[in-house]
């Protein structure tokens, strides 16, 4: 047999085949943009400015690791770190123009099946654990030399290890570190809930971003526990002794050295079972031990095992010798609850530890809650202290008098009584002295001394109890009684003042909650900016007024000094800002009125000035607030980076609201980002940033990384907020991430009656091609859709499922297409009446006869009846009636058919084809969209037979797909031609951009876009579909570039 050329083998190529590969683009085939660049000649790259460029990880130049070409998509920019399994590079995604981290398997493990499996498993774990605390994996790929690599989000920030090293003492910023630790626990709890254990938790594997976001990295040792947990693990280990879990060399860093051989993990943070290499025993509780080790370092400054020699560290870890660590904890003046939690996490026996990270998170959360409660009480006690301070002097004088009296009577007592009295005095005097000493300290310590003041009171009560229980000298008794009486007599006054202070604190917290708004996401956020501001401000004004009414204050009528006097407390600055916020909301809300009452918000600002007359920055801001016209640039002048860094979260919120109200959304976003650098844990700043960015972006069906991280951060701070979960899910949906639809489904399961979720789910399910599920939701969704207005995209579905009459009745349909609807239902007289009415309304003219211009030519109900008869005949595409019609009329019938008869879509497609063949110009006819585009949508949907009534063959399906793709390519040709025109107006480009982006979430096109549809079609068809979407993506990127230019 003649020897064949080597066409079967992927390599090596002979010279001509190299030429063929270069000629047919095989040498760059993996890059979408490469392919598009070849086909369009355009350079498709868009790079956004990066405000965090200075926080990027330090990279080393790439050495001889030969990992410089990660497929065609990623370009290697330098080395970030080197670990046991692979090297992490900083890379650039050429297609999307973003920096990423790319982990590549070490060359030496290329042939090692087990290590390769583990490497891939790491990528899969990262890809499947969808949590704000876990770095998302974008893609798993193969290098040219068949080594796997995976690309993930590039994290910017510092490791917890670095942050801990920068402390001057372990007690520094403890609340902040505990808050970070809580987020770590929650992240690991999420992993544990999915049966994943990390097995290498340590501070250097915890990244803290610039905005407070915490992420657990390096899941290279992570393992998915088999069903049944430890017992099954043991069984597996027994059965696979030769294939025990990967043994590898771990990363080396500082003292936390990992060792090669049988150990996995980092000894200083390792559970004893892990240190002994009992791999099969490792489960969630080993992670709990490591969490305890991290907590130990946060509290005491060092991990539990901290010997100089590595071998010693391992020995200590294996034997769980951590007495020294516990001693450090005891001497670090740490609260009892934290010490107990650390001890229980570090228990030698796994059974004695908390069961998983969720339990640790719960205990830390409860501790932090207690601390918060204590802080709140401290504020109340501080108030008590101020009132009582005046009485302390009196109490002191009484004590002196008491001592003099005591001196006079003491000599007259008999010996035994003296002994008993001495005994009582011996016990009571130290308590009384301690009470006086503590009261003095508390007085000098001001607010911070509040807890000491409580201790002083406790001591005084103890003295009183001792006196009451034993025999006491009258002078001692009267001294103690006088002290207590005096305190009691002041009690009511103190209580009243304390309650007032507490009420102020609570009230101010409620004020912040009003700013945050209810936990409901509604369409408000997707309207235009002025409407959003107006609606949001009106809500705030109503709720602020309610809050003021609750405390019996009418700020509109009270004079400024009186209103200011009401808040004469420690929180007067915060109170002044509350008046400012009220003024800002009132101002924006009243703008819609023809004659806005500017005196009202100016009065509120006057009250704020009374409360806070001295701060020049705040008063300059108030000057801006009372101007006739808000001036964005002038307000931005007050919001310099330096100024923002010194301002409280409330002040940042106010300035952001003002910039937004002045119409500069970009400036508001930038200021918010600056504010978040200083207040990363402020919920409102995160929440409103995500909403502000998303409100602009979701309408164009895109969701940026800024909106995503702000929303994620807000969710970390308040994980139960459904509004932010919904927003994030919507963003994911728009990004084409399947987790978006998953989350929307989950949210709807939780609250099945929430209308916004019903309609959102319907649109998301339609958009991703889950048609049956969407149709099942339609009865509920319709209620919300009626409220929100009919979306033309899916109107044919509403007609098909018989909701037309409801929409017609509700008036929602009136501006769209009542006439054709009535005609289709043979209600010619009503249609004629409606048509006559519509003709008098020029603005409705385009819609009233939609989609058939011939309807508009009718002169009577009879004409409409005749017209309808003609259309009906044309459902048979062989009908002679068609021969007498021109292209425009056939097109009109095709559109009517697609609009009102989803079960007949293939017929509609044939009619479209016939119209286009008769006159290609009809393709450009524009109703809601261009006729050719609508025909492409119809054809794509027809190919999937979603209604289940078409019974088309596989060949017909393929033809319908092909038609759809052809028409869409023609649309793209047209767009590209227009884009080449330098005179093309920007709004036209933006319009094109929106149209293209919308295709990504457009249900009609799901059958030629969604992977599960593509998987079910012949490979050639699927390839053609993928190529179309790559082209759409490329043209979209090109348009973005033009727009941003």
């Amino acid at each position: 047999m003649k020897k064949r050329s080597n066409g079967d083998a992927p390599s090596p190529l002979d010279p001509l085949e190299r030429g063929l590969s270069a000629g047919f683009g095989g040498d760059r085939r993996d890059s979408v943009l490469g392919s598009l660049e070849r086909s369009t000649g355009a350079r498709l790259s868009l790079v956004l400015p990066d405000p965090d460029a200075d926080q990027e990880p330090v990279v080393k130049p790439v050495g001889s690791t030969n990992a410089t070409a990660l497929g065609a998509r990623y370009e290697v920019l330098g080395e970030i770190a080197r670990g046991g399994l692979g090297v992490v590079f900083k890379g650039r995604d050429r297609d999307l123009g973003r920096d990423v981290a790319v982990k590549v398997l070490h060359d030496r493990f290329k042939e090692d099946r087990q290590v390769t499996e583990r490497f891939v498993e790491e990528a899969q774990i990262g890809g499947q654990l969808q949590h704000p605390g876990i770095v998302p994996v974008y893609e798993l790929g193969l290098q040219d030399d068949d080594r796997p690599f995976f690309a993930m989000k590039l994290i910017k920030g510092q490791t917890l290890a670095e942050l801990l090293r920068k402390r001057s003492a372990p007690s520094d910023s403890r609340p902040r570190f505990l808050s970070i630790f809580l987020q770590v626990c929650k992240t690991i709890a999420y992993a544990h809930a999915r049966r994943v254990v990390h097995r290498d938790l340590k501070p250097s594997n915890i990244m803290v971003g610039n905005f407070g976001e915490v992420q657990v990295v390096d899941w290279g040792l992570a393992k998915v526990l088999r069903r049944g947990g430890v017992a099954d693990e043991t069984a597996i280990a027994e059965s696979r002794k030769k294939e025990s879990v990967i043994e590898t060399v771990r990363s080396q860093e500082g003292s936390s050295v990992s060792i090669p051989g049988s150990l996995m993990g980092t000894p200083a943070y390792m559970s004893p079972e892990q240190a002994r290499g009992e791999v099969e025993r490792l489960d969630e509780r080993s992670d709990v031990f490591s969490l305890g080790a991290v907590l130990c370092e946060i509290l005491s400054g060092k991990p539990p095992f901290d010997a100089d020699e590595l071998s010693e560290v391992v020995r200590d870890a294996a034997a769980c010798r951590h007495d020294a660590a516990f001693q450090r904890l005891e001497s670090a003046q740490v609260e009892k609850e934290l010490v107990e939690l650390t001890r229980s996490c570090l228990a030698p026996s796994p059974d004695a530890r908390p069961a998983d990270a969720g339990e640790v998170a719960g205990r830390i959360e409860s501790y932090l809650q207690t601390v918060e409660d204590r802080a709140r009480k401290a504020v109340v006690r501080a108030a008590e202290l101020r009132v009582r301070a005046r009485s302390i002097l009196t109490v002191g004088c009484l004590a002196v008098v008491g001592l003099i009296i005591a001196g006079g009577t003491y000599l007259g007592l008999d010996q035994k009584r003296q002994e008993r009295e001495n005994n009582t005095r011996h016990q009571a005097e130290p308590a009384l002295a301690a009470a006086n000493r503590l009261a003095g300290q508390a007085e000098h310590a001001g607010l911070l001394g509040a807890p000491i003041w409580q201790e002083a009171l406790d001591e005084a009560k103890r003295a009183q109890a001792v006196v009451a229980a034993g025999e006491a000298a009258p002078e001692l008794k009267s001294r103690v009684d006088a002290t207590m009486r005096n305190l009691e007599s002041r009690g009511h006054e103190v209580q009243a003042q304390a309650e007032k202070e507490a009420a102020h604190v609570k009230w101010l917290e409620q004020f912040v909650e009003v700013r945050i708004g209810p936990d409901v996401l509604h369409e408000l956020y997707f309207w235009n900016a002025p409407k959003r501001r107006e609606q949001e401000s009106t809500r705030r004004v109503v709720e602020y007024e309610h809050l003021f009414r609750e405390i019996g204050l009418n700020p509109s009528t009270s004079d400024a000094p009186a209103a200011a006097a009401f808040f004469d407390c420690d929180h007067r600055i915060r109170a002044s800002l509350a008046f400012d916020a009220f003024a800002e909301a009132t101002r924006v809300a009243s703008l819609r009125m023809k004659d806005p009452d500017s005196e009202r918000w100016r009065h509120l600002v006057r009250i704020a000035r009374h409360l806070d007359p001295d701060d020049p920055w705040r008063n300059a801001l108030r000057d801006e607030l009372v101007r006739e016209e808000l001036n964005a640039s002038s307000i931005l002048g007050l919001a310099s980076v330096t100024a923002i860094r010194e301002r409280s979260a409330e002040e940042v919120a106010l300035v952001v609201s003002l910039i937004d109200a002045a119409g500069d959304i970009g400036g508001a976003i930038q200021t918010q980002i600056e504010g978040l650098r200083v207040h990363p844990s402020d919920f409102w700043l995160n929440q409103s940033l995500s909403q502000l960015v998303a409100s602009d972006e979701l309408t164009s069906r895109r969701f940026s990384e800024v909106a995503s991280w702000a929303c994620s951060a807000a969710l970390i701070l308040r994980p139960d907020r459904r509004a932010e979960r919904t927003l994030l899910a919507l963003g994911d949906f728009q990004d084409g991430n399947p987790i978006g639809v998953e989350t929307l489904r989950e949210l709807l399961r939780e609250t099945p009656n929430e209308q916004f979720l019903q309609s959102t789910n319907f649109f998301a399910l339609m958009g991703t091609g889950f048609f049956d599920e969407a149709f099942a939701l339609l009865p509920e969704a319709m209620k919300a859709i009626q409220v929100s207005g009919l979306d033309w995209e899916y109107a044919p579905f509403f007609f098909h499922f018989g909701y037309t009459e409801e929409l017609h009745g509700a008036g929602t349909l009136s501006i769209l297409n009542q006439v054709p609807y009535l005609i289709e239902n043979e209600r010619y007289d009503e249609a004629w009446t409606m048509l006559k009415r519509g003709r008098k309304m020029p603005s409705a003219r385009r819609h009233i006869g939609f989609p058939n211009p011939f309807v508009l030519r009718a002169r009577s109900a009879e004409d409409l009846r005749d017209l309808h008869q003609r259309w009906r005949a044309c459902r048979d595409t062989e009908s002679p009636e068609l021969a007498s019609m021109d292209a425009a009329e056939i097109l009109a019938i095709a559109e009517t058919e697609s609009w009102f008869h989803l079960e007949n879509l293939p017929v509609a497609v044939r009619l479209f084809q016939r119209a286009f063949d008769a006159d290609p110009e009809t393709k450009e006819t524009f109703h809601f969209v261009r006729a050719r585009q609508w025909a492409a949508f119809v054809s794509a949907l027809a190919s999937a037979d979603v209604i289940g009534s078409q019974r088309i063959t596989a060949k017909e399906r393929s033809e319908l797909r092909h038609l759809s793709l052809t028409w869409l390519h023609e649309e793209l040709d047209l767009i590209e031609r227009d884009l080449a025109d330098p005179q093309l107006p920007k709004d036209r480009t933006e319009q094109y951009s929106r149209a293209l982006h919308s295709m990504h979430g457009y249900g009609w096109l799901a059958p030629i876009r969604e992977p599960r549809f593509l998987g079910a079609m012949p490979e050639e068809d699927a390839h053609a579909c993928r190529f179309l979407w790559a082209r759409i993506h490329g043209v979209g990127a090109m348009m973005d570039q033009i727009i941003h230019r």
């Binding site: 010279p15 030429g19 063929l20 270069a22 085939r29």
Partner: protein, 228 residues
């Protein structure tokens, strides 16, 4: 170049028309050589001047196409055809940009290192050669596809076969399975398509180097440039 290799046209016909300012040849000229120019500059500069690649590409084409520009002075008798001429223009523009950049850096930071300016022109020449070869292959593939359209269904299937083999990276046996064809027949089609591509390559080489003594040797030389 849509039908140039099939007629008696050469690259100089196109160049002459482009240099004379005719719109269509200018566009065709830019379409043919833009990927080559861009890829060469991107490879030469990596990330260092990435922001300036667009400007440099523009400058190359400006140098070539402006009235009485470089193209109008091109020497047709020069050995190697149009290739060395184009390379000269690209190199000059690239060096001009590098010099400008180096001077700017030196002004900003007198002690700035100038390591970033490429100094190994010979390796860059190889790069340019390879890019030229890739450009020729792309044009040959394009020519092959165009001629296949006229040749009929079999030839078109041959083009599709080459596309699936080299763009999609599929082995012939997989293609045969997908097409439900006898593998032997697919191999036969593959051999024919290869030969047709080789012929297209000859046409393209002839187009760019009219009158070259040994066409096959020049094709082999071009193919050898693609070796890593």
């Amino acid at each position: 170049m849509s039908d140039a290799p099939d007629s008696q046209a050469t690259c100089w016909t196109l160049i002459q028309a482009a240099a004379a300012g005719e719109e269509s040849p200018r566009s065709e000229f830019a379409r043919q050589y833009l990927p080559l120019v861009r890829r060469y500059l991107a490879a030469r500069w990596r990330d260092l001047f990435s922001g300036e690649i667009d400007d440099a590409v523009q400058e190359v084409f400006l140098a070539c196409l402006q009235k009485e520009g470089a193209l109008s002075r091109a020497d047709r008798g020069r050995a190697g055809g149009f290739r060395p001429f184009l390379f000269g223009v690209i190199r000059n523009v690239a060096r001009r940009f590098e010099d400008r950049r180096a001077r700017r850096r030196a002004r900003e930071r007198p002690d700035a290192d100038l390591d970033h300016v490429p100094d190994r022109e010979d390796s860059l020449d190889r790069l340019l050669d390879r890019e030229w070869a890739r450009c020729m292959m792309a044009q040959a593939a394009e020519h092959h596809q165009r001629t296949a359209l006229a040749r009929g269904a079999n030839a078109r299937q041959g083009v599709e076969l080459l596309r699936m083999r080299f763009f999609d990276g599929l082995p012939l046996r997989d293609i045969a399975t997908r097409w439900k064809e006898d593998p032997e027949k697919v191999h036969q089609l593959y051999r024919t398509a290869r030969e047709q591509f080789r012929n297209s390559l000859r046409k393209i080489v002839e187009f760019h180097q009219p009158g070259v003594a040994d066409l096959d040797a020049e094709c082999r030389r071009l193919l050898s440039l693609l070796e890593e």
